[in-house]
Symmetry: C2
Subunit: 311 residues, 2 copies
Amino acid sequence: MPERDFIARHLVPLATAPAARGLADDAAVWAPPLGRDLVFTHDVLACGIHYLAGDPPSDIAWKLLAVNLSDLAAMGATPAGVLLGLGMSAAEDAAWRETFTRGLGRALAAFDVALWGGDTVSGLDRAVLGLTAIGHVAPGGALSRRGACIGDAIWVSGTIGDAGIGLTMARGTIPAAKPLLDRFRRPMPRLALGQALVGVATACMDVSDGLLIDADRLGRASRARLDIDVAAVPVADGPWTTGLDDRLARVTAGDDYELLFTTPADADVPALAARARTPVTRIGTVVAGAGVRALCDGRDVTPDRLGWEHG
Amino acid sequence: MPERDFIARHLVPLATAPAARGLADDAAVWAPPLGRDLVFTHDVLACGIHYLAGDPPSDIAWKLLAVNLSDLAAMGATPAGVLLGLGMSAAEDAAWRETFTRGLGRALAAFDVALWGGDTVSGLDRAVLGLTAIGHVAPGGALSRRGACIGDAIWVSGTIGDAGIGLTMARGTIPAAKPLLDRFRRPMPRLALGQALVGVATACMDVSDGLLIDADRLGRASRARLDIDVAAVPVADGPWTTGLDDRLARVTAGDDYELLFTTPADADVPALAARARTPVTRIGTVVAGAGVRALCDGRDVTPDRLGWEHG
């Protein structure tokens, strides 16, 4: 199918927002909400690197949107629109494209986000899928990684390491369990929590490469150290996590897309999280130093490999 | 070089705008100019499809920025910032990356545009380079392809078909002449002209796939026909264009990145274009019908192939 037909048949029906202009012009036009800061992110998913060639196309579409919205969540932003950059190979045939765009439509609807525009390229050797997400936040309210203070409490949303188990399942190494497979394939960006943290969290980021490596980055950005009690880190129910080695595997696995954040020790985070309908757990304290330290019963158990290093 | 080092060494120094936050957070944050509409575009250049593997990396960076800014120009917008999605293979080695990012820095400076953020991926089979450009325009002022009216004058900026000759030179088929090679490798988005056309042009788009095919699209979007006098279309000086066949080759070649626009017949376009320091030429008239017709001495010479069809 020529790109023009693919766009007309599968993408134009998703581009219902006025900003998209029916994908008929050279660019999208959007009147931003008055008095808000705008937040922009762009993440790329490549076949064979960020997802497996056999993953369901609708799940790939979900993940492409979700990982970008997770970046907006980490800034406390409310998403508004996205632009796509779809690079595809012969493997992304008509059936793949149809399932992908149908899944994308469902994902956009689930998060109330509009498709504004983008570009498609065929004839690549493998799929390389880019997405730009645009959101907004109260002026000056955007969260950052830099504000953690000594004495602050360290919190994390949801459970950690599930997607790492899900990836092992997707590879067929261990028997599949759908909830954990879904944590790998269909992450849930913590948008409500991120928005609730504006004005409360001193620092925030999303956990994408592993809790410890991301905590290390937040600690370095804040010129402080995050002391994390690995026994306090919430993990999935089940037989997956029995001893310390399992726990260290959980906190160094990627693709969680939970929020890691710090607050003053006396902030009523449980109440705020309940309003955002998001489970949160306190996992440590910010101390003097730099980076991260993993503790178990007060003992330093920091592993050499903290998580997923790019490149 | 790990991606982290590439980003720290080559991209962070380019991300000097406050919105970029030193590339240290999950997303960029920008306070948009009050009372302006925002304009968004995202175009992808793939190695071997949109440029040749041997093209100078600094020219590839220029083209990646320029083709996106050309979309903003077509909407009458002023560019503000960009996000990158750099997918690279082993062929994009340390030397390539350094030359690319140095060229990108020069291109950003030339157009006064800020690098706000993005993503990098290594380990692909070929480079796939995406860029999102964000600009702004007076509220309600964005140009579109839809407003051409019967009786309007049709105009084009610059000269047409140069990049097509440049591509033939880049492939080594004919001896190279730098001005035409540059038209292929280092297009100049017509930003000043686009901005000057706000409130004047009834329809506008950039010419990227060939003058005739793009005129056909503008005509269909406006539910009118663009009658273009191919003898009036401005072409490069030199031995390239002697007869009608040459002219038809020029008006069906891609990568011009000139603006094609329509105005009321009595608009003083030459004065406006002079203020924007951009040469423009009247090439025809909007009539009843749909699409495009190429005329020569009043005779219909419309070729079967109007330009570059994607996919």
